[in-house]
């Protein structure tokens, strides 16, 4: 038991003192809910910045930023055709740091689309989809689609001309799907044109359904990275591969 109060509080949370040797460093990872997403040790190769460019991690970080800023925006926004646009204007004018909040949410959203896409390119060009990672590659493709859908559903919410016509163009494209196109379009829009029904559907998809599904899939994606033997890398000189 530590002799000082801060020390006792620290130990109640982290169990071990500040880690300055390898064995304690391993416990930092193993004993923490957040940290144990990581392996205790990883191949030196996986640390190389020019191998991964940290794109998967950056995508995840942006998702967290988007969740936090998104929840804060929800306190100031009502998804009705009468109120939505005025709420966004109020956000830029009256709400404390409101404009900054909206800017962060918007730019992080663009950045996330870019980061996830580049992460997929990285995984392809380094052959990281090869067995045993083939299923996780499929999960990743699903995550890219979800990211696009999240961004797309968020695009309508400011209810300005840019949003209205972008979603009109976008949902028209969906409407061309053979057999299911018209049904899909009227399901998304709750009608034949972009209106109150569409705004509510896009809002619910954007703030509840899609983030929830994405979070679950991200969990699966991370778990599989660990179960598939950690981050990909070249076969070892000793011929360690199957």
């Amino acid at each position: 038991m530590s002799r000082t109060l801060p020390g006792r509080i620290w130990r109640s949370i982290y169990r071990q003192p500040f880690a300055d040797e390898e064995r304690e460093g391993a416990r930092v990872i193993n004993d923490s809910l957040l940290m144990h997403l990581h392996p205790v040790k990883l191949r030196r190769h996986g640390l190389s910045i020019t191998y991964t460019f940290g794109l998967g991690g950056i995508s995840f970080l942006l998702f967290i930023v988007l969740t936090v800023t998104g929840v804060l925006l929800m306190f100031q926004y009502l998804p009705t055709t009468e109120q939505a646009y005025a709420d966004i204007q109020r956000l830029s004018g009256e709400v404390f740091l409101g404009q900054l909040l909206r800017n962060m949410h918007r730019w992080a959203a663009h950045a996330m689309v870019l980061a996830v896409f580049l992460h997929m390119c990285r995984a392809f060009f380094t052959g990281s989809y090869k067995p045993p990672r083939s299923f996780n590659w499929a999960v990743g493709v699903g995550l890219l689609v979800l990211t696009l859908l999240l961004s797309f559903t968020g695009y309508l919410l400011p209810w300005d001309q840019l949003a209205f016509w972008a979603i009109t163009v976008g949902t028209n494209i969906a409407g061309y799907a053979p057999l299911v196109g018209r049904a899909l379009r009227s399901f998304l829009l709750d009608g034949i044109v972009v209106g109150q029904g569409a705004l509510l559907r896009f809002y619910v998809l954007h703030v509840v359904v899609l983030p929830l599904v994405l979070a679950l899939l991200v969990g699966l994606h991370f778990w599989r990275v660990r179960k598939d033997g950690g981050i990909s890398g070249p076969p070892l000189p000793g011929g360690g591969h199957e």
Binding site: G25, A26, I29, M35, H38, K41, L42, R43, R44, L47, I49, G54, G57, L61, Y85, N103, M104, H105, R106, W107, H110, A111, F117, F124, F125, T126, G127, S128, K130, P131, R133, S134, W137, A138, V141, L148, S151, F152, W159, D160, Q161, L162, A163, F164, W165, A166, V169, G170, I173, Y176, A177, G229, S232, G233, P235, L236, G238, G240, H241, E242
Partner: protein, 251 residues
């Protein structure tokens, strides 16, 4: 000692006691290839996160998110543009039947991506960017071809009032689904196949290396179409140079 060096070519802190037959759970793992996550990876991640957050904050201080006029279903935006990541598809819509541009092509790309690991499953080339020097060659060959071919096709189409690239497919005496759908779709698949075969024959590439080339062509093609929609399309979805002041004015 000499047997030690033969089995374990690198320097160790342990010695070989005995060689035994049998399987081992240590697949693709060597005891001294690893580093502890704490502090190495955690530090890298923390620094990277700080840089991303800093960049985001600076961008958000200096650039405001756009906000147009209040939505008005009676006044169409001209040009009405989809979000930027769908502009490649919107550009395809100009040249192709909507069923193919909007549905079949995206579906083909997604299914193709999902299928790749089930056709390229050997461990060779994993963990190295472009797999090999020959992989880089494939990427350069296919990427270079795409960088020339697609802008050239778009330029021809931009100079033509009917947006046709070579012949106006709409005027062919065939159902639209075939003339502006199946024909250009088949042409695309054929071009990608051609690039694949070219990599295999011309460069002697493996399956994986040729796939690297095809993927490069696909990604660059999407990027070019997206940039075209973003910077080279204006009023009436016509071709404009990005610096043309009349590009986004309402006509």
């Amino acid at each position: 000692m000499s047997e030690d060096k033969k089995v374990f070519p690198t320097d160790r802190t342990f010695t070989l006691v005995e060689v035994v037959e049998g399987t081992s759970p240590l697949i693709a793992k060597e005891p001294d290839d690893t580093v502890p996550t704490y502090p190495h990876l955690l530090l890298t991640e923390a620094v990277a996160a700080l840089f991303v957050l800093l960049g985001l904050l600076i961008a958000s201080i200096f650039f405001n998110a756009p906000l147009g006029e209040l939505a008005n279903p009676l006044v169409a935006e001209n040009p009405a543009k989809a979000p930027w990541y769908f502009l490649g598809l919107q550009e395809l819509l100009l040249h192709m039947h909507p069923v193919f541009a909007g549905v079949i092509i995206p579906a083909t790309v997604l299914l193709g991506l999902l299928a790749v690991p089930y056709f390229d499953f050997g461990p060779k080339g994993e963990g190295v960017w472009f797999s090999s020097r020959r992989g880089v060659g494939c990427a350069l060959l296919c990427g270079g071809t795409t960088l020339v071919a697609i802008p050239f096709a778009l330029y021809l189409s931009g100079a033509n009032p009917t947006n046709a690239i070579v012949v106006d497919l709409k005027t062919l005496a065939l159902p639209q689904l075939i003339s502006t759908g199946l024909i250009p779709y088949a042409a695309m698949l054929l071009s990608l196949t051609l690039l694949y075969v070219l990599c295999r024959r011309l460069l002697g590439a493996s399956r994986r290396e040729a796939l690297v080339g095809v993927f490069t062509a696909l990604v660059l093609g999407m990027v070019i179409l997206t940039l075209t929609g973003l910077y080279f399309r204006g009023v009436g979805w016509k071709f404009f140079w990005p610096w043309d002041p009349t590009r986004l004015l309402h006509g």
